[in-house]
Amino acid sequence: MGKLNIVQAINLALAEEMERDPNVVILGEDVGRDGGVFRVTEGLLERFGPERVLDTPLSELGIVGASIGMAAYGLKPVVEIQFMGFSYAALEQVFSHAARIRSRSRGRYTCPMVVRTPYGIGIKAPELHSESAEAFFCHMPGVKVVVPSTPYNAKGLLVSAIRDPDPVIFLEPTRLYRAVKSEVPEGEYAVPLGKAEVHQEGGEITVVAWGTMLHRAMEAVEGFDCEIIDLQTLKPLDEETIINSVKKTGRLVIVHEATKYCGLGAEIAALVSEEAMVYLKAPVLRVAGPEAVIPMARLEDEYMPSAGRIKKALELVMEY
C-alpha cells in the first residue's frame, strides 16, 4: 500500500470494513456523490452503491437518531458529521439513547454505531469548524471516544470502532488529515480500543496528549527526557499506562486544545492525584485552551497550545 495520509487511511478502513461486513453502511451530509467535504468517503458510493452510502438531508439530529434505530435493527451505521461543531444538535440522541439503550433494555438492544467527525483547529475555516468538545462525550457512560494521530492508528482504530458492540465517537483531527503520512498495511489489522500507546519512552516527565496535540508535544519535548503517551482512546481511558508512566517519571504534563476547565486533562490529573500522588515530584500541569470561545481564523493559532507553551510547562515541572 505504501504511505498514506489520514484521509486515505480512513477511506481504506471504511472500504475494507464495508467489503467484510455487508451491514456496515455510511450516512451523512455530502458523503456520497461529493465524497465528503474532506473526501474521506470518496469513491465509496460508486463502489458500494446508494444502499450502503447515503447522502442525507441536512439533519444531524435526524441522522444520528436514525442510526440508533439502524444499529438496533442490525446494521452498523458509520455516520459522518461534517464538523464536530455541528454534532451538538445530536448530543441528546447520543447521550439519552445511543449511550443508554443497552442498559435501558438490559442488553436486549444494543447500539453498535460509529459517529465520525472532523475535529479541532486546523483549516482556518469559519466559526464552529474548529471545535474540541471531546469532554462532552467522555462524560457519557455508554459511549466510547477515539482520536487517531497517525494514518496507521487511524485505520486500525476505525476498524476496531466499527467492530465494537457499542457506540463510538471517532474524532478526526482536521489539522492532521493530510499533514502526516505513514505506512498503512492493507487488510486485517486493528488497533484495540482502550489502549494508549507510549509514543516515546522517557524518564523524567510524562506527557499525555492525543490527536494534533501529540505532534505539538513532540516538537516541544526535544531537549527534555519525556515519555510521550498518545491516548488514542479517550474513553474508556487506559489508566494503567498513564499511572505506570507517572510512577516512573514523577512528573505529568497534559496537553489539549479544548478549554482547560472541565476538559479531559482534568480527569487525567485527577486520576493521577488519586492513584499516584505519592509518586509526584511536581504539580501536574495542563497546557490547554483558555477560558474562551475558540476564535476565528486570525487568532486561532494564538488560542492553540504552542510548542513554546508546552516547553514552558516542561521547564516548570523540571524545577521540582
Binding site: 453502511v25 444502499e51 450502503r52 447515503l54 442525507t56 438531508p57 439533519s59 439530529l61 435526524g62 441522522i63 444520528v64 437518531g65 436514525a66 442510526s67 440508533i68 434505530g69 439502524m70 444499529a71 438496533a72 435493527y73 442490525g74 446494521l75 451505521p77 444538535a89 441528546e92 440522541q93 439519552s96 439513547h97 439503550i101 443497552r102 442498559s103 435501558r104 433494555s105 438490559r106 442488553g107 436486549r108 438492544y109 444494543t110 457512560p141 455508554g142 466510547k144 465494537d164 458492540p165 457499542d166 482502550g194 474508556p236 481511558l237 489508566e239 494503567e240
Partner: protein, 355 residues
C-alpha cells in the same frame, strides 16, 4: 408571470363507527367476528391493567404512572394492524400497545415499579423500550425502517408519540428523512388534546397535526382515535403501503387523555370537568361494545367473562412482578458496555457489588 397555484392539498378525517355504535359498512375494515372480539378483549385488558396500575401507585406499590384511559382504541387499533415481525417504538404512555402485542404484563408492571428489567424485551417481541424524552424515539423508527428497506426485509416500523411531541425537532427531522428515503414507517400521533397542561390549541397554530404530512411530501390522515375501526383501517392501509414500498404515513389519532397526565399531575388545575365528562361519553370501549351488541357479539355474560379474564390476568401479573427479586446493584454498571471497563471493575470492587 402571475400569482399561480402550484399545489393543492386536502386533509381528511376518517370515522367508521359513530358514538352510537353505528358503523359505515362501506368503510368497515375486513375483520372477522373473532378478530373484533379479540380487539375488544385486548381493550378491556389494557383498561384493567391501567386502572390496577393507578391503584398500585396510590398504594405506593408502583412509581409514577402515565394513564392511557380513553386512548385504548388509538393504541390497540393501530397495534393490531401490524404484523408480529414489525417493529414498534413506543412513548411512555403506551400500555395499550404493549398489551396488544401480548407483552408480558408483569414486565410492564416491573418497569413502572422502577426496574429496568421490565424493558428487557423478550426475544420474540419487537418493541423498543418506552422512550421518556418526548419525541426522541421518532428518529429511531425512521432508522429501523431504513434498515429494513436496505436489508430488503418486508417489514414496517411504527412509532407512537403525542401531540406535544409534534412540536419537537425530532418529529420534523425523522419524518422528513423518512419521506426522502420512502422508508417503511408509520408515524402514529396520539393526539390526546393535552401535553400536561398545554392544550393542543397552544401546541401549534395548525388545525391538525395530520396536515404536517404535506410538508414532508408523505401521506397523512386524521382519524377518530376513539373509533377502533377507523384507527385499524387507517393504520392497516398505511402499513400495507409502507410494506409495498410506497413510503411513510402520518396518522393523527384524535383522542383524549381522560385521566391526569401522570399520577404526579392534577389536571383539575388546568381543564374543566365538563370537558372531561364530554369525552367520557365518547369512551372507545363503550363505542365498540355498542357495535358488538348490535351484532350480537357482546352479551352481559360475555362482557363479565372478558372482565373476569382480564382481572385474573392482571392479578397474576402483579403477583409475579412483586414476587420477583430485587434488582442487583451490579446491574447498574453491568449493562453500560458489552464488556466491563477497567474502571468499572474497580468500582464494582470498591462498592462491594462484585458477585
Amino acid at each position: 408571470m402571475p400569482l399561480k397555484t402550484i399545489g393543492k392539498f386536502e386533509i381528511k378525517n376518517l370515522q367508521v363507527l359513530d358514538e352510537k355504535g353505528e358503523a359505515d359498512p362501506a368503510l368497515m375494515p375486513g375483520l372477522s367476528d373473532g378478530e373484533v372480539k379479540k380487539a375488544y378483549e385486548a381493550m378491556v385488558l389494557a383498561r384493567t391493567f391501567n386502572s390496577r396500575a393507578l391503584s398500585l401507585q396510590r398504594e405506593g406499590r408502583l412509581g409514577t404512572y402515565a394513564s392511557i384511559r380513553g386512548q385504548e382504541a388509538s393504541q390497540i387499533g393501530s397495534a393490531l394492524a401490524l404484523e408480529k415481525e414489525d417493529w414498534i417504538f413506543p412513548s411512555f404512555r403506551e400500555s395499550g400497545v404493549f398489551v396488544a402485542r401480548g407483552y408480558p404484563l408483569w414486565l410492564i408492571f416491573k418497569y413502572w415499579m422502577g426496574d429496568e428489567r421490565g424493558m428487557k424485551v423478550p426475544e420474540d417481541q419487537f418493541i423498543f423500550p418506552m422512550s421518556v424524552p418526548v419525541s426522541t424515539q421518532i428518529p429511531h423508527a425512521t432508522g429501523a425502517a431504513l434498515a429494513m428497506k436496505l436489508k430488503g426485509h418486508k417489514k414496517v416500523a411504527a412509532v407512537y408519540f403525542g401531540d406535544g411531541a409534534s412540536s419537537r425537532g425530532d418529529f420534523h427531522e425523522a419524518i422528513n428523512i423518512a419521506g426522502v428515503f420512502r422508508a417503511p414507517v408509520v408515524f402514529l400521533c396520539q393526539n390526546n388534546q393535552w401535553a400536561i397542561s398545554v392544550p393542543r390549541s397552544k401546541q401549534t397554530a395548525a388545525e391538525t397535526i395530520a396536515q404536517r404530512s404535506n410538508g414532508y411530501g408523505i401521506e397523512g390522515i386524521q382519524v377518530d382515535g376513539n373509533d377502533f375501526f377507523a384507527v385499524y383501517r387507517a393504520t392497516k392501509e398505511a402499513v400495507d403501503r409502507a410494506r409495498s414500498g410506497e413510503g411513510p404515513t402520518l396518522i393523527e389519532c384524535f383522542t383524549y387523555r381522560l385521566d391526569d397526565h401522570t399520577t404526579a399531575d392534577d389536571a383539575s388545575r388546568y381543564r374543566t370537568k365538563e370537558e372531561v365528562d364530554e369525552w367520557t361519553h365518547r369512551d372507545p370501549l363503550l363505542r365498540l361494545k355498542l357495535f358488538m351488541e348490535k351484532k350480537g357479539l357482546w352479551t352481559e355474560e360475555y362482557g363479565k367473562e372478558a372482565d373476569k379474564k382480564a382481572a385474573e390476568e392482571v392479578d397474576g401479573a402483579i403477583k409475579e412482578a412483586e414476587s420477583y427479586g430485587a434488582p442487583d446493584p451490579a446491574d447498574i454498571i453491568g449493562y453500560t458496555y458489552g464488556e466491563l471497563t477497567g474502571r468499572q471493575k474497580k468500582e464494582l470492587k470498591d462498592l462491594g457489588w462484585e458477585s
